[in-house]
Amino acid sequence: MISAPAWLAGGRASPAGQVLRRRLESGDVTVTAEIGPPRGADPDAIRHKAEPLRGWVDAVNITDNQSGFVRLSSWAGSLLALAAGVEPVMQLTCRDRNRIALQSDLLSAAALGIPNVLLMTGDHPRFGDHPEAKPVFDIDSVQLMWAARTMRDEGRLLSGRKLDPPPGWLIGAVENPSAPPTRFRAARLGKKVAAGAEFVQTQFVFDVAGFARWMAEVRDLGLDRRCGILAGVGPIRSLRALEHMRAVVPGVHVPDEVARRLSGLPADRVADEGLRICAEITRQVLQIPGVSGIHVMAPGFEQGIPEILDHAGIRRRDPAEPASAEPAAAAEPAAAGSVAAGRDQSPRSAGAPGPRSGCAH
């Protein structure tokens, strides 16, 4: 067996594998945040963004050419985050890859020790810096999760061919509770859970009442017992950002009362008020039954994420477990796979009582 390269070993060892999984299973407030990889070949860019988040977050999402703008790839960014001692969630979209490339990248992620993947359809390239590109969309996000779960739990590719050993990541999804048809959004998460999602991160929540309605439907379907639910939060730090959020970012709904609170202020006080609103929303969503935690999105303001969390009353925790001494190369994903497979055999009918473990039940 080939062991992990030395430069990788430190990173692999330090997060001790499964911080996000364990946090979700513990029932504590889970915190993830988003890091955008650089447009450029600077390997330190991810480290600079990730290191200040150690202990504050359980895992960081590494975006996959977000909004269709070319960046360093999410698997490379995930490796750099591992090396910086922060557990990554590798985002993977269907926009740029067909099913061959998707499955290949998923396998690669497992072999490199990336413990979490977040599978999504992705923005249309029309919004990106290459609007003339061919959109792929060979399969959609539900089908990708379904394929990933099949790879892990049944050890087979979409072709039916066997994988040896199968991969072992935690499978994540996204959902946007505020996008029409809102009455279908919980059912849509249900499809993702049925396909294989074990945690979900939502789009920005600014309309807490609407989010609470969605959560009520999620609980009715029993999804909160089978899937960790992380509410997306983030600060609006300027009036330009507010305008951008309302007019440009697809699917984000900023209600009028939030906009009013910000737009009446002098420019130098908007950032503070935005932070205050974000903290209020964070506290409110964490009160909603079934919510496992939050997912913080602050593009271009990653260094401010500890401040955001501090405002919301979330304290820094010891960076998870002590670093394991040996960089268990390919053994780790395989072991994780068996854990997942083991959990998958447990009773999981929607009505089955059970501890509020984060996921998969």
Partner: protein, 200 residues
């Protein structure tokens, strides 16, 4: 460079009412032209039976009749649904609004980019086809259909007659029986047994 951009801008401004949006690669969301209630009734008339199976085999027996039939199907379905001829029709499970006209070709429901006003994120002037599907399914009491998991499609079937495939049972298992939450987890393969046995 500047001139080129100017050219684009003026061309966009000249665009008629038929093309209110700048183009993006891929299809445009299309509103079906017939009521869902009518189409569910038509579906009952077209359900596979020995007669249709024989008809489908007869059509397939000759290249000419197949092409003629497929061209007719294409003309009818593209006029009504904006059909793209994927050859594996999802319409009976999507409120008879075609998900293949979604610019992202989503088969499992709307993406997260639907505007608060119901607009498509790629074509803000057009309504999301999945939102249309939801509203049509809701009116007909068929929302549960949208919860079925749609399996990955076979891209070799583009251009084929979906009716011929449907009548011969080749569309069986395109989607799951239900939302997959209550029973054992649904398998991703349409023919799981043959898949497990045949390929190693």
């Amino acid at each position: 460079m500047v001139n080129v951009r100017k050219g684009f801008a003026s061309r966009a401004a000249r665009r008629g009412p038929g093309h209110p949006e700048p183009a993006a690669a891929g299809p445009r969301p299309t509103q079906p032209r017939l009521a869902a209630s009518l189409l569910y009734r038509v579906q009952r008339l077209l359900a596979p039976n020995p007669f249709y199976r024989r008809l489908a085999r007869w059509i397939e027996a000759s290249d000419v009749s197949y092409r003629l039939f497929a061209a007719t199907e294409k003309a009818a379905k593209s006029a009504i649904f904006g059909c793209q001829m994927c050859g594996q029709c999802a319409l009976p499970a999507t409120g008879y609004a075609c998900p293949v006209t979604c610019p992202k070709q989503l088969r499992n429901g709307p993406c997260g980019g639907v505007g608060v006003d119901g607009s498509c994120e790629v074509y803000p002037g057009l309504r999301c086809v999945w939102l249309v599907a939801y509203e049509r399914a809701e009116r007909e009491g068929r929302v549960a259909d949208l919860g079925r998991l749609q399996r990955p499609i076979d891209h070799r079937r583009w251009g084929q007659s979906s009716w011929v495939n449907y009548w011969q049972g080749r569309d069986d298992g395109l989607w799951t029986e239900d939302n997959g939450l209550n029973a054992a987890r649904p398998g991703i393969w349409r023919f799981a047994a043959s898949m497990a046995a045949g390929r190693q």
